[in-house]
């Protein structure tokens, strides 16, 4: 009885914690600027209107009473940000998987020289605070002409996703039953066993690794702000942050934030089964 009580309290706190900000943004996105300024603010929009969602994509919207809500000045940035964010996230996801799946598998299942030192190097990369490499990256990128390019952003994202996902997958692969031995008895080579049997068996781990890489690239803000913001390459979070420098458009800001969290929310929803299926262990034993 006592335990269910605690559980209920914990649940309420968790729901409150995660849902209130979303509710708040939804509310703002569907209010007109006038209604937002009005006090006391309505808790639920009584006549929700989608004006903000038109405005942020560069369309004007005619409100009731012939009031016109004009297109947002950030519209071009938002549209490009959406496109670039998808592009960068997808590429980071695919490349991360291509690198980390074989890498983590080798660490988990094979013996080779300097294995422990190399594993330590990977873990060290995870432990390094990302911001500490920001300035070196910037200096290097300016010289290499990578500043302001999407490829530059992809490379930076990879330096963070690869070590982290490798670290996560090593533990996952270690936990899989030793089916390679079955596979060798059945006439598969090492590579064929990995591709044809281990990967299908490890699909939960692969899915979670993909999600982590995608979401990481999608949410990455600091590097994007420094390396590509204000150029023709631009990601969604930096585009949204651009509202800070504009005449206040709280409705449009809220709508942009909602658009930004939709893809991660969808991904998380469809992949939660895999997350609970994979039991992670610490790769350092």
């Amino acid at each position: 009885m006592k335990r269910t009580g605690f559980l209920a309290v914990a649940l309420v706190v968790a729901l409150f914690w995660s849902l209130v900000p979303i509710y708040w943004f939804c509310r703002m996105a569907f209010l007109t600027p006038l209604e937002i300024q009005h006090y006391p603010w309505p808790l639920i929009p009584h006549a929700p209107n989608p004006a903000a969602f038109y405005n942020i994509f560069g369309f004007r919207y005619v409100l009731s009473g012939n009031l016109v809500s004009p297109a947002s000045g950030q519209a071009a940035q938002i549209i490009r940000g959406l496109k670039d964010s998808f592009l960068v996230s997808l590429i980071v996801m695919v490349v991360t998987l291509a690198i980390t799946l074989p890498l983590a598998y080798m660490f988990a299942r094979m013996e080779f020289r300097y294995k422990n030192s190399l594993l330590f190097a990977i873990l060290f990369a995870v432990a390094l605070p990302p911001v500490s490499t920001l300035i070196p990256f910037y200096a290097m990128y300016v010289r290499l002409g990578l500043a302001g390019t999407l490829s530059g952003l992809v490379i930076v994202d990879l330096t963070l996703t690869v070590p982290f996902v490798t670290w996560m997958l090593i533990g996952y692969f270690r936990n899989l039953p030793p089916i390679e031995r079955l596979a060798w008895m059945d006439g598969y080579g090492r590579l064929a066993a990995f591709v044809r049997l281990v990967l299908p068996l490890a699909r939960s781990g692969v899915a979670v690794a993909a999600v982590i890489a995608f979401l990481f690239a999608w949410n990455e803000f600091t590097y994007a702000l420094v390396l590509v913001n204000g150029t023709t390459a631009n990601t969604l979070p930096t585009a949204v942050s651009g509202f800070l420098h504009q005449y206040p458009e709280p409705g449009n800001l809220a709508a942009s934030v909602l658009i930004t969290i939709v893809p991660p929310a969808l991904v998380a929803y469809f992949l939660q089964r895999h997350v609970s299926e994979m039991n992670l262990v610490d790769p350092v034993r």
């Binding site: 039953p177 030793p178 089916i179 031995r181 079955l182 060798w184 008895m185 059945d186 006439g187 598969y188 049997l197 299908p200 068996l201 699909r203």
Partner: protein
């Protein structure tokens, strides 16, 4: 079917010697059981026969041909792994089919072979299930089917029954032995269970600490153990082992002596519980002991007595035998059935070999 020879096989993992100086020969169609406590190198040995693990030195021969460097698949052996490992994401049918994937057989031949093993092992209703949906015994059957569908030259089983409950173990034990005799395939089975070894094997190879202790028929291993380890490892209830000394042609242990003709020095006397009797006090050389416990097994009882604080002895008695705990009684061992082991654990002759 293959005749398998292991010659001077060594395997080390780092500084650990998992298998040392292992040499043995397995006849065509023979059922050999590798028996030993956990960690003694049985699985490593089996893996080297299978080709999953390369020996550090030594050779593996199939039918006289050196296959030490031949890959697992090309040795044409099949293996059932510890806890009946299967591909967890494939149905039982796909698991079995995977064994034939590289066989070069036509579709019709494969289907026929699969149908044969399915019938032989009665696993028809299980074919569409995933391994996680099968019980331990069912998984064992499917793993066996997966192994024999290849019609391998040798059949290797690593503790196939250890994950199962006792009743199932009993019935699958005879099933495996029966199947092996029907197929006539050379088979090596690894177990740490001496009853499995005794009941299934044509011969038993007893291992300890990476070394072969003795190889022989169950009868030889039980009645004529070559080392103290083998004597103590086989038999339930276990053999009584009495530490003592050989002095002036006589073994002396705790209040117990037996004339022997072994060289002077520390020694251990072994006698099985069925070769010890409870006697009247008058018998010469009888051992005095106190009753510690009486275990009823139904057909017989095991009387456990304390000869001194550190030595407990077991005696088989008829089920009607009654005794109070703490009661004093006298024991005598059948001198003809006693075994003597030297300080290194090697068997010593009780009497000099009769020339002839």
């Amino acid at each position: 079917m293959a005749r398998i020879e292991l010659q001077q096989l060594h395997k080390t993992f780092g500084s650990l010697a998992a298998v040392q100086e292992l040499g043995l020969e397995i006849a065509e169609g023979e059922f050999l059981v590798l028996l030993g406590p956990s960690g003694c190198g049985k699985t490593t040995t089996l893996n080297m026969i299978a080709g999953l693990e390369a020996p550090t030195s030594g050779r593996v021969l199939f039918d006289g041909r050196d296959v030490t460097k031949v890959l697992a698949y090309h040795r044409n052996v099949a293996m059932v792994f510890q806890s009946s490992l299967l591909y967890p994401h494939l149905s039982a049918r796909r698991n079995i089919e995977t064994s034939l994937r590289h066989s070069g057989l036509g579709r019709a031949d494969r289907d026929r072979r699969i149908a044969d093993v399915v019938r032989m092992l009665e696993i028809d209703p299980l074919l569409d299930k995933l391994p996680s949906q099968l019980s331990g015994g069912e998984r064992q059957r499917v793993a066996t089917a997966k192994a024999i569908v290849r019609e391998p030259a040798a059949f290797l089983l690593d503790e196939p029954l250890s994950a199962l409950d006792a009743a199932l173990r009993l019935s699958l034990r005879s099933e495996i032995a029966n199947l092996q005799k029907r197929l006539g395939t050379t088979t090596v089975l690894v177990t740490h269970d001496q009853i499995e070894a005794m009941t299934m094997g044509d011969r038993i190879a007893v291992m300890s600490n990476g070394r072969l202790e003795q190889i022989g028929t169950p009868d030889q291993i039980y009645n004529d153990p070559a080392t103290l380890f083998v004597a103590g490892f086989l038999g339930a209830p276990p053999m009584n082992l009495i530490a003592g000394e050989v002095e002036a042609g006589c073994f002396r242990g705790i209040g117990f002596s037996l004339p022997v003709t072994a060289p002077t020095g520390p020694a251990t006397l072994g006698v099985r519980p069925q070769d010890v009797r409870v006697v009247a006090s008058e018998v010469q050389g009888a051992l005095v002991a106190r009753v510690f416990a009486l275990e009823h097994l139904g057909r017989e009882s095991v009387l456990i007595v304390e000869a001194d604080k550190s030595t407990k002895l077991r005696v088989l008695v008829p089920p009607s035998f009654g005794a109070r705990v703490g009661e004093r009684l006298f024991l005598a061992a059948d001198p003809e059935r006693c075994l003597l082991f030297g300080a290194e654990g090697m068997r010593l002759p009780l009497h000099p070999a009769v020339p002839g």
